[in-house]
């Protein structure tokens, strides 16, 4: 380094000055202001330029309220939602890194003639695929209108069109041809332009403005007829078939085995991490990162295990009621004896016996109503009795008739998962991937050469060269993702669920405190600073590690 400490400080200040000035005015100033205000009762409705009321110093009261006081239940509730949504972050980062590595591994087509040859091949394949799809799906000539064209769809709104079976087949054929063309186009462009094309393609979601993306995914997530569930339905159909044609025990064992394997793997990872921590092989930050990965793994593994265990029990109703058993049916009949004295108990019992071992609640209601005399009053009494006897259960993937895809944004148990999936889609090829790509390109090739002289290939080269060299980039990504995860989710909740289905996150909460009712900006600042402390603790850990690793 050049010069004395004092001189270095002056030079550094000169470099820093343009940024520092703006930073102090537009960032540091307001931040300091919000810190001060977090210890006051600042509320915009009482304290603003129109009022003489002075802001009162309340000490740590705001912090108390948030952490243990009257706001605590909301804060921790929303913190839980936020943390759940953040489970997607490790998945997203790992995915982005994998994508970046794949893109770097994919050679760009070297010469223009080779490129042209690839493109030609791709175009021919695409044309074949399009023609094939068209031949397979096109519905042939339109049916004779006189022979009656069956209406299949009614427009849900003011639409110009009621569509016949033929119309729908024709439109679906269009869609299939379009999909085939798209697949061909992707393959062709990939062949011709290589990584450059994929890089742009994966980056596309980041170019789309937020609201449009949320609206788009809202239509994709529609429970019935949404593109995602339309794709899931046949897959679930196969699984359903498999579940039907095999003993339930098998699925229980599979589920339990998966759960056990997940827990064991998690324990192993934690123990290895602890031992490294104790032996100072790695810093606390990498242990925290390890914990995040373990948490994600546990969530995914245990969730899947639960679904597996639930699979054989396919007869759950969409309304979330468990199927009835014969014993619960006799409870129902006992209750009907008092609720509905006019109904003949023997007829009820016979009807119940005819229902099989685990009847669906709707079947039970209609059978029992018929046996009871079939009036509206009977139906009401029977329905109440049956629904009371059928407890609410976890819906899982299962429901009434076979496996049903989830009610993505409606069901509180799926909404957050839906948001995570959307987040991964949007972020996988986005900034994170770009940063990894840039980071990878900054790794000097001689390091790889040195490593290959040492005989390192594949995984060991990744662990010993790539990963340490990416450390500053990864550090940045982890920090920024954590910050983004804790502060984000506000617009999603606004547009996609209107805060329903348990999707309110901390950002939404702060916003509500700061900009509704009394505009309690003091309290909102306190919540913001609590979040700051959470993030800062994690960053400080990482920061120490980052300094160690870059030898700085």
């Amino acid at each position: 380094m050049i010069g004395s400490a004092r001189k270095r400080l002056l030079i550094a200040l000169a470099f820093l000055l343009p940024n520092l000035l703006g930073f102090i005015v537009f960032t540091a100033g307001p931040v300091a202001f919000s810190l001060v205000m977090s210890f006051t009762d600042w509320a915009l409705t009482r304290h603003n330029r129109y009022s003489d009321t002075a802001v009162q110093w309340v000490g740590i009261e705001n912090y108390q309220r948030v952490l243990v006081g009257d706001e605590a239940h909301l804060f921790w509730d929303y913190f839980g939602n936020t943390a759940f949504l953040m489970l997607g972050i490790p998945l997203g980062i790992a995915g982005s890194l994998a994508l970046a590595l794949m893109l770097t591994a994919l050679p760009a087509p070297a010469s223009t003639p080779r490129r042209a040859r690839y493109a030609l091949l791709g175009i021919i394949l695409t044309l074949l695929a399009v023609a094939g799809t068209w031949l397979l799906t096109t519905p042939g000539p339109p049916p004779d209108p006189a022979s009656g064209s069956e209406l299949l769809l009614r427009s849900t709104e003011t639409g110009l069109t009621d569509l016949t079976r033929y119309d729908v087949a024709r439109l679906r054929s269009n869609a299939a041809v379009l999909a085939a063309a798209a697949a061909g186009l992707v393959a062709t462009s990939g062949l011709a332009f290589g990584p450059m094309f994929f890089r742009g393609l994966f980056y596309l979601p980041s170019l789309l403005s937020g609201v449009a993306m949320f609206l788009l995914w809202k239509t994709l997530y529609r429970p019935e007829g949404g593109l995602i569930n339309a794709g899931l339905a046949p897959i679930l159909g196969w699984i359903d078939l498999a579940a039907r044609s095999s003993p339930p025990l098998l699925w229980h064992i599979a589920g339990i085995a998966l759960a056990a394997a997940t827990v064991l793997a998690a324990l192993f990872l934690v123990i290895v991490g602890l031992s490294r921590l104790i032996h100072r092989d790695s810093g606390p930050a990498s242990f925290v990162g390890r914990l995040a990965i373990v948490a994600t793994m546990l969530a995914v593994g245990l969730g899947s295990a639960y679904v597996l265990v639930q699979l054989p029990q396919r007869s759950l109703l969409p309304s979330g009621r468990a199927p009835l058993s014969q014993s619960s049916l006799s409870t129902v009949i006992d209750r009907l004896a008092t609720d509905l004295p006019s109904a003949p108990p023997d007829a009820l019992r016979r009807a119940a016996a005819g229902l099989g071992d685990t009847p669906r609640t709707t079947d039970a209601i209609s059978a029992l109503t018929a046996a009871a005399g079939d009036s509206a009053a009977d139906r009401a009494a029977v329905t109440r009795a049956v629904l009371d006897a059928a407890p609410l259960v976890y819906e899982g993937l299962t429901s009434g008739d076979g496996l049903q895809p989830p009610l993505w944004l409606v069901d509180a148990r799926w909404a957050k998962t839906a948001l995570i999936i959307m987040g991964i889609w949007a972020g996988l090829g986005g900034g994170t991937m770009l940063l990894f790509l840039a980071g990878l390109s900054n790794i000097p090739p001689e390091l790889y050469e040195a490593a290959s002289i040492d005989g390192a290939t594949g995984w060991s080269r990744f662990i010993h060269v790539t990963w340490p060299q990416l450390a500053p980039t990864t550090f940045f990504i982890v920090i920024m993702s954590t910050i983004g995860g804790l502060q984000g989710g506000f617009e999603q909740a606004m547009v996609m669920t209107q805060g329903k289905a348990d999707t309110i996150v901390l950002a939404y909460y702060i916003y509500n405190i700061a900009f509704t009712d009394q505009f309690q900006l003091g309290l909102a600042s306190a919540i913001a600073w609590v979040m700051f402390i959470l993030i800062f603790a994690m960053t400080a850990l990482n920061f120490r590690l980052g300094s160690q690793m870059t030898g700085d």
Partner: protein, 281 residues
Amino acid sequence: MPAPATSPRRLTLATSAIFLALVVLGLTFVIPFLWQILISLSSLTDVDLLSQTGFPPVLKPGNYPLVFEKVDFAKYFFNSFFVAGWVTLLQVLTSSMAAYAFSRIAWPGRDKVFLLYLGTLMIPGVVLMVPNFAVVLALGMFNSYWGLIIPGAFTAYGTFLLRQFMLTIPPSLDEAASIDGAGHWRIFTQVILPLARPGLIVLAIFSFLGNYNSFFWPLILTKDDNLRTLPIGLLAFDSTYGRETPLIMAGSLMAMIPPILVFLFLQKYLVRGIQLGAVKG
């Protein structure tokens, strides 16, 4: 670059597998956009139908000109592009200088000041809105291009990002340069900046996109129609009067065109940066 540096440039089994995986993954990225295009081409009344037919019964390409007819879309386009461009230029300039000071010069208190920078990123912006607005108003920048550009030009985010990139440049390089008698300014412009090019390009892309699509700050900082940016302009289709989904989709698809061009333009330099780094490093 790790793999291709040694492997010959032809399709091996591994690269074919990777290629196939990328194509499949690419399709999952293309299909939602295809869907968006189909929505943008259907009439409002058929949007709900689309999930069952997969294709609009009546194609309405007229939605695209309609966006320009209903709002002053061209003006919003210009404003977004113009403001995002200035912010990007200024931000890359100020951030790279600050990052140099944080990564290449050892001065007392450096890490503490840097932590301060970093810390400000961790405060949710919602609570900074009121003081921030007061500052902009006091500086007389409310309802002007200045207010849209200047506050975005000095970010801790950009400084942090570039510092991380500059940290990966081996210290031996600037030591060698300083032995050659180069001052800090020359080391900065002639050694560090070219080597940090991927970082600069990445920051430029992020900064441009972030400001191009930013919604809240321009909304609060303007009241004149002539200053509105694209996301605010698209509000007209999502007012309490109704949500015109096809027009929102058409508008946001068109809004994507400039960022796509900027991305394509800049990614060329990203690649060159990679090769340059390989030669010089």
